[in-house]
Subunit: 389 residues, 2 copies
Amino acid sequence: MKRLLWCLVLLVAGCAASAQELRGGDELLSPEILPDNRVVFRLFAPGAQSVEVTGDFLPERETDGRKAEPMNRSEEGVWSYTTPAPLAPELYTYAFVVDGLRTTDPNNAHVFRNVATLYNIFLIEGGRADLYRVNDVPHGTVSYTWYLSPSTGEERRIAIYTPAGYESSGNKYPVLYLLHGMGGDEEAWLAFGRTAQILDNLIAEGWAKPMIVAMPNGNMSQQAAPGESSHGFEKPRFVLPHTMDGLMESRFPEVVQYVDSRYRTVRRKEARAIAGLSMGGFHALHISKQYPDLFAYVGLFSAVITPPDSVQSAVYDRPAEKLAVQFARLPKLYWIGIGRSDFLYDENEAYRRELDAKGYPYVYYESEGDHIWRNWRVYLTEFVPRLFR
Amino acid sequence: MKRLLWCLVLLVAGCAASAQELRGGDELLSPEILPDNRVVFRLFAPGAQSVEVTGDFLPERETDGRKAEPMNRSEEGVWSYTTPAPLAPELYTYAFVVDGLRTTDPNNAHVFRNVATLYNIFLIEGGRADLYRVNDVPHGTVSYTWYLSPSTGEERRIAIYTPAGYESSGNKYPVLYLLHGMGGDEEAWLAFGRTAQILDNLIAEGWAKPMIVAMPNGNMSQQAAPGESSHGFEKPRFVLPHTMDGLMESRFPEVVQYVDSRYRTVRRKEARAIAGLSMGGFHALHISKQYPDLFAYVGLFSAVITPPDSVQSAVYDRPAEKLAVQFARLPKLYWIGIGRSDFLYDENEAYRRELDAKGYPYVYYESEGDHIWRNWRVYLTEFVPRLFR
């Protein structure tokens, strides 16, 4: 009887259906990372007519420009695809397309959400990608907390990373404000961005100073990430009304005020950095320019530079004048990173020419690739070691 | 040119593919909750031969016992299913089965992981389910942090809920230790369990005392939830070596010690509760019995009662004697909840008879249904208002 109960404990709640099983009882492993870093993807779908794997590790197909490859069907109905060559160390995303329908891999429960789409992930270890792993090092704390925004009158959700030792040390810490892109939210840098792992690892290696990282929600139309606000489990939207209209930038001091009041921070410009990706880079640019005494370190990761034509906001007035003030006060670091094939490359190049013409110093980092998380993780690992030295 | 850039900002990173779109540009809405609380599920899959919706709101089919219903195909290739009757307020889970392959709904980015399986979720508002919503009330903070476990020599991850006002009040708080089931981890109570929302809402209504909730990982073989430990993005396993072998129970004081050292807690038995579901209920039973001076409140939610035959641990020795000591010290609350069709019902009934025979007082709550999260959420809403009065 007791044995029976134990079998039941193991079977309840659909847990036995937690992975695809073949008739022999063998569990399907997908993705399988082979010892040489080739990767095998598998899906049991005997009724399917065609199955593709689509992922950011695949080259664009000549026929249709899609990053997808057909999978092959075994007699048993298992579709599989093996990368022809080893994959370089990196955090990758993928999904399957079964008879035209995009689906996540039922054998891989690890997914990240980007706006409204789920992506399976896997990691090839080695090199810089080891900074994206959870390693056996002291870990910081990740908190999701809420602050009352005086300007909106609403509670807004913010993600905070405090480094290992924060609780016991009694020390005060510098703060990096890290901003997401359009369509992202306060969870984006922690998921695709691997911020907690990157900071844990850089700090443990002594390559970065212990610091707090504050990740607010940059869409002023949102109180919190989809599913975390009182709007319920709504469909995440890419474009929201208040994203690049001056609201986030003009009201940013209230975020700093909250973090300074809630955490043991060093309340000086030299102990504050602000960086962001895409729209978040745009925010970082305009916030640091609008409030030239707040941040000594600025990071523009594949940043949008110029405000939309349609927008009227005092934040975007007299940009050259404000930039002159900002650079007259000598930022410790003004860091610009962009991918060579990013659609914002030209806009960034024009901005750099403007900085060059005025003799404003900045550090420039150019990478391969376009407007992708892979680059933003790299930029974070390049930017963070330069802070608060 | 700027207009073109803006179009590109909206299109990059696959964001335009964030939901299924029909040829007319109409976005598919799924699930759609109709004004009368009937629910429509939709999937665009023109190539599919058969599509089913499977979910916990469906009755078991007479033919095969599965909770699934066929969906109907429109001429355009949109499959849909509308519940014949309104659904009662509740948090529900579902998925689709396309030509035999289980897949999540590509139009619903809200998923919870249970062991290795992803479930789409939706919520019908009203009644007790309003406690599962994010409402416009002050919100607590959810932190994922790590503590050094002296007994394993490893860092272990723990989730902590601190109530709204914790940071500013300076008060000391009572602590509820809330334990997950086999196959779960430190994230389980926060996802399916809606612990943060339930606590926020109960506290805001004045129905529960402000309290800290500590949710450790009860699998002593795991440092952290799958994907959050140095084992990387491994496949989550249901059965791990050290789950119900006395290890978790005997070493539990180190969890209490950590929480007491890290948070402003009231360090008295009367300010400590321990509860858990299934395996976690088993842990709560045996921990509270082993350490009769630690917890004044005990909650057994669909608990396993008896240790596995094969296990030898001093924790499970002399149970009657230890229970006598525990009840001689007069627990403030010994709470037992179970579903009428739970496979552990008989074992719980036998345990209650044992308590009755000895005259040990307890509160009993019997619900419909079996070994499911729906019951555990209900039990939490019943248990928490009784604590620390």
